[in-house]
Symmetry: C2
Subunit: 129 residues, 2 copies
Amino acid sequence: MSDNWLSKVNWAQDGLVPAVAQEASGGRVLTLAWMNREALKKTVHTGEAHYWSRSRKKIWRKGEESGHVQKVKSIHLDCDEDVILLEVEQIGGIACHTGRHSCFFQKLIDGNWVPTEPVLKDPAEIYRK
Amino acid sequence: MSDNWLSKVNWAQDGLVPAVAQEASGGRVLTLAWMNREALKKTVHTGEAHYWSRSRKKIWRKGEESGHVQKVKSIHLDCDEDVILLEVEQIGGIACHTGRHSCFFQKLIDGNWVPTEPVLKDPAEIYRK
């Protein structure tokens, strides 16, 4: 297929757009990461979420170290064509590098960000070589 | 309450972070917009979603023209403390300026972004003065 769909995305000046991953079953918002053209292309062609790491400045296959891959069920674009939404199956049930289900585990309660989700697996175990 | 919770957010160099709004009932991801400190503060203090408009360069109360206000049920922060997630009640059931329920109405199907949601109300009616 042609790459017209890639050009329809309004990539920002830095070549990136935010990409939200939502769990297909249950609807939890798991992660927000960043994509460039190559990351979106790889996501589409492999069916697994790929992102651009702004800190490491490279493409990153979600789960490449942890095994916590995001299998992509569907890909959506917003009205301004500058945000991606992925519906995913989160392998291992852990999206966050802290070992929690979702990255959005801190909730604002009475002026404090309170962790409201358990650590399901010790990161030292997730990332041991 | 003190503003420590505001300082815990890792505001980017431009003073902004992305803010995802998810419908509390049903879990649909509705919008992604941007917040600065003032927008988050107003969101917390009023219970209605406020964003920073990057194009108009001003604070914007979601729904101020359309009436499609987002009533905030809870506010969440991710592990890197640079993304906000709001759980909201979407007044009017329309989050998108195109008159659709969600902004993420385009789905990638066979290499094309296909609108997969109906327009619930004509934007000309939503935004008439």
